[in-house]
């Protein structure tokens, strides 16, 4: 009996996952042709097809390309021979989630042993069949080969025997020197589907008989539905239902457009918002007041701020960073079908298990009765780590049980009801000794912690370890300065704050790296040379390794990327007339080391008053699994960061003022730098680290540093106003 695919997937979901399937299949002995499935990540079908589960959501970062490369390397098969299936949350997959630039590293830890274990079992099966020692056998491109006899058996031929082999606990992993696939450039596996329109994102889910929904949400945070009049909405052709849900009023219709028109006709009275007077201009002033005095210390080196009492000269500057939206092109959406005692969800989610949990709560069904299909994501950037939109879809589907329904957020919904990057204000101070050496450092940050997915407690806000976790880019300042003190002032706001590409880092790194440039200018030093000096280039007594909290920074690696970017950009050579160069660097979570040199001019680029003429990036991410993917993430980070120099989210009377790409303009093609070069620095670090977020952080400061030099006027806030 040959199980069909659907049945088989359900069978898999019913088992407990990794490393026990050998037993399960032994028990199911009446099956003659069955897949070899040594763990949850991989199975080899009797027909030889190798099927891999992708445990990360594809949102453009290329996981459906890079992750199969890792498995193929250890399993010793061609990447092209791997079929991929998106993993769904369940007993085998309890921790699916895509964020923190952790996809490649997280899956590296899982897929290498998964591939190596399977390979070892296939080799063991061949050894048993041929009566030879496994150590005499090799694998090559999907087959086990016996060198001396030239015997050869494909993985397909060996699969059912391999399933009977014990799963090795610590399979031998390949040595880095013998990689054939990892480290080569591979094009996107999803490319052909994308260019033909076949790629299915969450919003493209089409189920027979489905309806479409939009939700009228409170125009101000904290308001609730007081009453609503659906008379006119129900008269709109195609509108089927008008339903109150916890988050507002849903209009359910035969098509998206009818639902949107129905919402326009809907009249809702909202309760008075407790935040009706919230204004982002006033909020920025509150942040400025909050850094007038030090708040909670999150790092103190040597004498801390007391060192400023002894310095010869102090230099200070204040930086600010606005609220910002994700503004992914695919608006938030989720499709749900609630049947009798079961449900199916299709979500473009970064947190499949979060959706699973939300579904159990909203529907009152056990997880085993709910299937969550993880769809392609038309831009994630952290926003889809929230399940607010999934919850809305679940609430609506519960009310129209028996009918599948797709919730779509309009562009304005997506922009106005975001989980935003928090606005922040930074005060930095540098103290110099008699010889103008930088000997004291202070960085105070005032901002709002994440509050959208869970609200920090009073205790959280005074716990230095918790607060430090909100201050990436502040406490992990990599330079050696004898005395330093960093502090964080929590300023609450009703604005929903959540993870946004690179999370807490972009504002902090912007402030820190611009301030370093100011110090260099103030003390007439070259900003590259100053950074290298502060990283111990001239002083062997400066420790090359720097540990702070759980971060482990190797200053030599940061120096190396700075030296590389300087060399590749011609930092030491004169820049063309009308241009200036800027430089900045960062270590993202002690993992990816990255530096940019940019050249800017004051020629217009699209709607921008300046143009980034050239971008040179050098980075050390350990193992670059797919160098082409690395370059793409750098390009993406550059454009993302450049958009932050152009747009901001502002709030008035408790409402976000922007709603479209016209008032929250992102970078367009005519504003894009003409040249972006990525140089991957060879690294001793034998693990691969992420790029999606690291590539964002030091770009804006590099550009601002160049612009400040070019215009002679220091820019200390974003968006850039020349």
């Amino acid at each position: 009996m040959r199980t069909d695919r659907r049945t088989f997937i359900q069978l898999c979901a019913a088992t407990s996952g990794a490393l026990v399937l050998g037993v399960d299949f032994a028990e199911a002995a009446e099956e003659t042709a069955k897949p070899f499935e040594p763990n949850a990540w991989l199975r080899i079908e009797p027909d030889g097809r190798i099927v891999m589960k992708v445990g990360k959501s594809e949102m453009g970062q290329g996981v459906r390309t890079s992750l199969p490369m890792i498995l193929a390397e250890e399993l010793d098969v061609a990447v092209e021979s791997i079929y991929i299936e998106q993993a769904s949350p369940g007993p085998s997959f309890k921790g699916l989630g895509t964020g923190g630039s952790g996809s490649i590293m997280g899956q590296w830890m899982r897929l290498r042993p998964a591939g190596a274990a399977a390979r070892a079992m296939l080799v063991a099966a061949a050894a048993e069949r041929w009566g030879v020692s496994a150590s005499t056998l090799q694998t090559s491109n999907g087959a086990v080969v016996d060198g001396p006899t030239k015997r050869r058996a494909t993985y397909a031929e060996l699969a059912s025997d391999a399933a009977k082999q014990p799963v090795p606990e610590k399979p031998q992993l390949k040595d880095r020197k013998s990689y054939r696939i990892v480290g080569t450039s591979r094009k996107r596996t999803d490319g052909p589907d994308i260019v033909t329109g076949r790629a299915r994102y969450g919003i493209d889910v089409r189920v027979p008989g489905m309806l479409y929904a939009v939700v009228a949400r409170a125009p101000q945070w904290g308001s609730k539905v007081e009453s609503f009049d659906a008379t006119a909405a129900k008269k709109v052709s195609g509108v089927r239902h008008v339903l109150q849900i916890p988050n507002g009023v849903a209009v359910v219709a035969d098509n998206t457009w009818a639902a949107m028109r129905g919402r326009e006709a809907l009249r809702v009275n909202w309760t008075v918002s407790p935040h009706a007077s919230f204004d982002s201009v006033e909020h920025m002033k509150a942040l400025e007041r909050a850094i007038e005095k030090p708040a909670l210390t999150i790092r103190k080196d040597a004498e801390g701020r007391a060192a400023f009492e002894k310095v010869k000269k102090t230099y200070e500057a204040t930086y600010s960073y606005p609220f910002a939206a994700h503004a992914a092109l695919e608006p938030l959406n989720c499709t749900v079908f609630v049947g009798e005692g079961k449900a199916t969800v299709w979500s473009p989610t970064q947190t499949p298990n979060g959706v699973h949990a939300a579904a159990t709560q909203v529907l009152g069904l056990p997880e085993s009765a709910i299937t969550v299909n993880v769809m392609l994501i038309g831009g994630g950037f952290g926003r889809r780590l929230g399940v607010d939109f999934d919850r809305e879809a679940l609430e609506i589907a519960k009310l129209v049980k028996g009918t599948p329904v797709q919730l779509v957020w309009s562009r304005e919904d997506d922009m106005r009801h975001g989980y935003f990057q928090a606005a922040s204000v930074h005060r930095l101070a540098a103290g110099f000794d008699d010889e103008e050496r930088l000997v004291a450092w202070e960085h105070r940050k005032a901002s709002t912690p994440h509050n959208a997915r869970s609200v920090p407690t009073k205790d959280d806000k005074v716990n230095p370890e918790t607060v430090r976790g909100w201050a990436w880019g502040v406490y992990d300042m990599p330079y050696f300065i004898a005395s330093a003190e960093m502090s964080y002032a929590v300023v609450d706001a009703p604005v929903p704050i959540g993870p946004w590409r690179a999370v807490f880092s972009p504002p902090s790194v912007f402030a820190r790296e611009c301030f370093i440039d100011e110090i260099a200018q103030e003390t007439k030093r070259d900003p590259l040379k100053l950074r290298l000096t502060l990283l111990g280039a001239d002083d062997p007594s400066v420790s090359p390794i720097f540990d702070v909290a759980d971060e482990h920074i190797d200053r030599r690696r940061l120096r190396k990327v700075l030296e590389t970017v300087a060399e590749k950009s011609g930092w030491a050579t004169p820049v063309a007339a009308g241009r200036a160069r800027g430089i900045a660097c960062n270590v993202f979570h002690t993992e990816t080391y990255i530096a940019y040199v940019v050249e800017v001019s004051l020629k217009k680029a699209g709607a921008m008053p300046f143009r980034v003429e050239r971008v040179v990036c050098a980075l050390d991410c350990g193992v670059a699994v797919n160098p082409l993917g690395v370059a793409q993430q750098v390009e993406s980070g550059v454009i993302w960061s450049l958009s932050n120099m152009k747009s901001e989210i502002t709030v008035r009377n408790g409402s976000v003022q922007q709603g479209f790409y016209t008032d929250f303009p992102v970078v367009m093609i005519d504003e894009t730098p003409m040249s972006i070069e990525t140089h991957i620095v060879a690294s001793d670090d034998d693990r691969p680290h992420g790029l999606g977020e690291p590539a964002v952080c030091p770009f804006a400061p590099a550009v601002v540093n160049a612009l400040s030099r070019l215009t002679g006027k220091r820019i200390r806030s974003l968006p850039v106003k020349l």
């Binding site: 594809e58 949102m59 453009g60 970062q61 094009k187 996107r188 999803d190 490319g191 052909p192 994308i194 260019v195 033909t196 329109g197 076949r198 790629a199 299915r200 994102y201 919003i203 493209d204 089409r206 479409y212 052709s237 195609g238 035969d254 098509n255 998206t256 457009w257 009818a258 949107m260 503004a327 992914a328 092109l329 695919e330 608006p331 392609l376 994501i377 038309g378 831009g379 950037f381 779509v408 309009s410 562009r411 699209g606 082409l628 793409q632 390009e635 993406s636 454009i639 993302w640 479209f660 790409y661 016209t662 992102v666 970078v667 367009m668 093609i669 005519d670 894009t672 730098p673 972006i676």
Partner: protein, 155 residues
């Protein structure tokens, strides 16, 4: 509700829809052709771009009642086998990241190359300058566009 014939990718469909319904939703929700994307509904982002008699238009700004005697091409119909020179150039330069904006970008370029077979990089920028790509695939779009022009994307 009125029934109207509309020709999409060479095939004539008779569709019943409200006159004011944008072509975008006719395609996506009534015909299930989801290659044409919803991004803003305001004609700003370009992700809903389709070809109308060969010229790029925003399907979110085109009422169903105005589609009458015209012929439309969506991304699904650009080529039967997915091997139009623009699609091939896109794959050669590995343009896409999330890919959501790419159907609109590709069809806008198709429209440009039809009227101008060998555009300059600046002309490509100008033609695509009202298409949003939030991932930032623009540098590769430029390269692919030049490659597509060279390889007969305007034919």
């Amino acid at each position: 509700m009125p029934q109207r014939p509309v020709t999409i990718n060479g095939k004539r469909h008779v569709i019943e829809a409200d006159d004011a319904m944008p072509l975008l939703w006719v395609l996506r929700d009534l015909l299930g052709m989801t290659g044409t994307k919803y991004g803003c509904g305001a004609g700003v982002c370009g992700s809903c771009t389709v070809l109308e008699n060969g010229r790029a238009i925003r399907s979110c700004q085109t009422n169903f009642s105005d589609t009458g005697d015209k012929s439309y091409t969506t991304i699904e119909g650009l080529s039967a086998a997915g091997d139009h020179p623009i699609q091939k150039a896109w794959l050669a330069e590995d343009v896409a990241q999330c890919g959501y904006c790419q159907p609109g970008m590709i069809l806008e370029l198709r429209s440009l190359l039809r009227s101008k077979a060998s555009p300059s990089s600046a002309e490509i920028d100008a033609a695509l300058s009202d298409h949003v790509c939030r991932c930032g695939s623009y540098p590769r779009i430029r390269k692919a566009a030049l490659l597509a022009a060279k390889s007969g994307g305007g034919r």
